[in-house]
Symmetry: C2
Subunit: 341 residues, 2 copies
DNA sequence: CGGTTGCATGAAACCGGTTACACGAGATGC
DNA sequence: GCATCTCGTGTAACCGGTTTCATGCAACCG
C-alpha cells in the first residue's frame, strides 16, 4: 500500500502538503492540489484510517449497541432492521461508519464497565447509538458523562451528552382508542407492554387519557399486561375473554402481541372484527399479512435511524445536546377494525 | 487515557514488556506479569486499537457487506437479522468486531473499486462477509485475490481466498416435492426464484430432479418464475390458476412468495390445502402466522452466520481456503399441506 | 574457571498519518 | 526602500502501540 510519504515524494512535495490536500484543500495551491490528487488516483493511494485515528483521536465510527440475548428485546426490536438500514444510510452520508457492539449483559460490577464501553474507548469511537436493551444500563450514562455522544432508542437516558429518539407512544395510543370509539366500540380493553418499559407505560397512559377524554370509564379488568411477544398477547387475550364482561374492542400495544390475540380470539370461536375489533401498534410486516389485516398505529421506522444518526453526528460536531426527538405516529386502518354494517 | 508508557513507568518496566504482557504473556516473568496486569486494572488501561492496528496491520475487524438498495435483496435477505446475530456472536467469540459496509451499487468503472473495497483497505479489515447482493460483483473477487479473506452468502464466488456458505437448496426442494407426493398430490407446479440467482436456480433443479425420480412428468406450464417477493408470488400464482389444468400442489421457492400465492388462491375462491397444497422455502416468521400455517423448507438460519464467521476467521488465521459450506435443510410441516381426509 | 546457553528485559526504530511552528518569497503600504 | 503581511510549504515532533536486536545476568557445562 502506498503511504503518504511515497505520494509526497512522487509529487515532489512534503507529506504535510499531501495531508493538507485531503483535509484542508483550500489552503494549498490549486496547481499543487490537482497534481497530488491526480497522482493519488494513479497510484491508488488511500489514507490509512488507523494512523489517522491515532493522530486525531477521531475514528469516524459510531457504535451500535444492542442486546444479543434472546430473552431481551435488543435485536427483537420490532424494526431492528429498518433502524439499522436508516442508521447506516444516514451515517454513511455523513462520512461515518457503523460498528456493531453487543452488550455483554454483564452489569455485575459497579466498577467494571460493560464490554461495549471498553470497545468504544479502545477504538476511539466518536459516538454510540443504543437500541433499548430493556434493562437500565449505568454504563451508558457514564460513557456520556465522559464526553462520548450517546443516543438511545425508545428509552430516556440521563447524561450531559446523551439524548434519545422515540415515537409518540401516548399520542399513538390515543389515535387507536379514538378510532375504535369512532367505529362505535365502547367496551375498549387494552393489552399493554411490560410496565417497566417506556413504550409500554406510555401507550397505557395514552389509552387511559383518551378514555377519559371520551368520557368512557376506566375499568381495571380491561387492562392486562403483556410482554410484547406473541405468546404474551395470546395469554393476555385469553384472560380478557375469561372475564365477566367481554370487551368489544382491544387496543394491543404491539403488533406481535396482536397476532397472538387474533389467534386467541379465533380459538375462542369469536370473529374479528365482528365480535371484537383490534388495533395494534408498530405496523410490522405481518400486520398486513394476517387476515383480516391488522389495523395498527404505524411508527416512522426509517425516521428512527435517521433521527438517531442526525443527533449523534450533530453532537460529535460539537453542537449542544439536542432535546429528545419524538417521532409522530399514524393510524393504518385494515380489516381488524372494519365498521360493522 | 492511560498509555502504555505511563503504565510502564508506573510498573518500573519498559513499554516493550507491557506490550508483551498483553500479547505474549508466557515470555514474561510471572511476577512482573502479575504486577503489570494489576496496575493496568487499577488505572483502567486499555490498549489503543488504532495504534495496534497501525503497527500490526491487523484490525481484528471484519466487514459485513450488504446492499442498502431497496430494490435488491441484500438487507431483504429472508434472514438478514438472524445472519447478523449469528455472525456477530460467532465473531465476538473469536475476538473480532463487525463493521457494516454497504455496496455503493456503483459498479460502473472497471478500474474504480466499489466504496466498500476502499473501506476495507483504509481500515485494514481482516476479512469480509458479503450478503448476496443479487448482482455479480467483480470487486469481491479482486479483493480476495489481493489476499483478503472473503465469504459470500448464497452465492458462489471465485477467488483464491474466497468461499461461500449456502443452504442445500436442491435438496430442500426435493424434500418439498417428495412431501407433496407423499400427501397424494400429483399435479405439482412450482413458483421459482429469479433464474439468475443461485438459490432460485438450485431450487428449480431440485424440483425437477425429484419429479423425475418420482416418475412424474415435467410440464413447462407448471413452472412460473417469481421474484422472491410477495407481489411476484401473487402474480405467479394467478398465472398458474389461469392455465388450462390447475395444479393440486405448488412448491413455492420462497415463503414471502408463498404468502402472496396464498392470497391469490384465496382471491380465486379456492382453499389451501383442500384445493391446492403449498410448500414454501425459508421458514420466515410469517410462515407460522398466516393461516393455515405454511409448510416450508427451513434453512439453518443461525448456521449461516456461524459458518461464515468460522470460515472467515480460519482464513484470517492462515488456514487453507475452506470448501463451500452447504447447510442442511429440514421440512417443517404445517397446515398448508395437511393430507386430505 | 572460561565459555556457552537461556531467560527476562530494555533501547530504539517503525507503522502512517497530523499539525504547531518556522520560513521564504512575493505583494502591499508608506 | 524598508517594514509588514499573506500565502504556500517544509521540518519535525507526536499519536500509542509492536518488534527486532542487543544486553545483562544467572545457571550450566566440561
Amino acid at each position: 500500500m502506498a503511504t503518504i510519504r511515497e505520494l509526497a515524494r512522487l509529487c515532489g512535495v512534503s507529506p504535510a502538503t499531501v495531508s493538507r490536500v485531503f483535509n484542508n484543500p483550500e489552503v494549498v495551491n490549486a496547481k499543487t492540489r490537482e497534481q497530488v490528487l491526480r497522482t493519488a488516483r494513479q497510484i491508488g493511494y488511500l489514507p490509512n484510517e488507523s494512523a489517522r485515528t491515532l493522530a486525531t483521536k477521531k475514528s469516524f465510527m459510531v457504535g451500535l449497541v444492542w442486546d444479543t440475548d434472546h430473552r431481551r428485546p435488543g435485536w427483537r426490536h420490532p424494526f431492528f432492521q429498518e433502524i439499522l438500514i436508516g442508521l447506516k444510510t444516514a451515517l454513511s452520508g455523513r462520512g461515518y461508519h457503523l460498528l456493531m457492539l453487543a452488550t455483554s449483559g454483564d452489569t455485575s460490577g459497579e466498577r467494571t464497565e460493560d464490554a461495549y464501553v471498553r470497545a468504544v474507548r479502545r477504538h476511539n469511537l466518536d459516538g454510540v447509538v443504543m437500541i433499548d436493551s430493556g434493562t437500565w444500563d449505568p454504563s451508558l450514562q457514564r460513557l456520556s458523562e465522559s464526553g462520548v455522544p450517546c443516543v438511545s432508542l425508545d428509552r430516556p437516558v440521563e447524561g450531559s451528552r446523551a439524548t434519545y429518539v422515540t415515537s409518540d407512544n401516548a399520542g399513538g395510543a390515543r389515535l387507536a382508542v379514538r378510532h375504535l370509539h369512532e367505529r362505535g366500540r365502547r367496551a375498549i380493553a387494552t393489552i399493554t407492554g411490560p410496565a417497566h418499559t417506556r413504550p409500554g407505560a406510555e401507550r397505557l397512559r395514552g389509552y387511559q387519557d383518551e378514555l377519559s377524554r371520551l368520557g368512557l370509564p376506566r375499568r381495571p379488568e380491561f387492562v392486562v399486561e403483556g410482554d410484547f411477544y406473541l405468546s404474551g398477547g395470546h395469554a393476555a387475550m385469553r384472560r380478557l375473554l375469561e372475564a365477566d364482561e367481554r370487551p368489544d374492542a382491544v387496543f394491543v400495544a404491539g403488533d406481535e402481541m396482536a397476532v397472538g390475540a387474533l389467534r386467541a380470539i379465533g380459538e375462542a370461536g369469536l370473529k374479528v372484527p365482528e365480535d371484537i375489533a383490534l388495533v395494534g401498534f408498530d405496523d410490522i410486516e405481518v400486520a398486513a399479512l394476517v387476515p383480516p389485516g391488522l389495523t395498527t398505529v404505524a411508527q416512522d421506522k426509517a425516521g428512527f435511524g435517521t433521527a438517531a444518526a442526525e443527533a449523534v453526528v450533530s453532537m460529535i460536531n460539537g453542537a449542544d445536546t439536542p432535546p429528545p426527538r419524538i417521532l409522530p405516529t399514524t393510524l393504518v386502518v385494515r380489516g381488524s377494525s372494519t365498521p360493522l354494517l
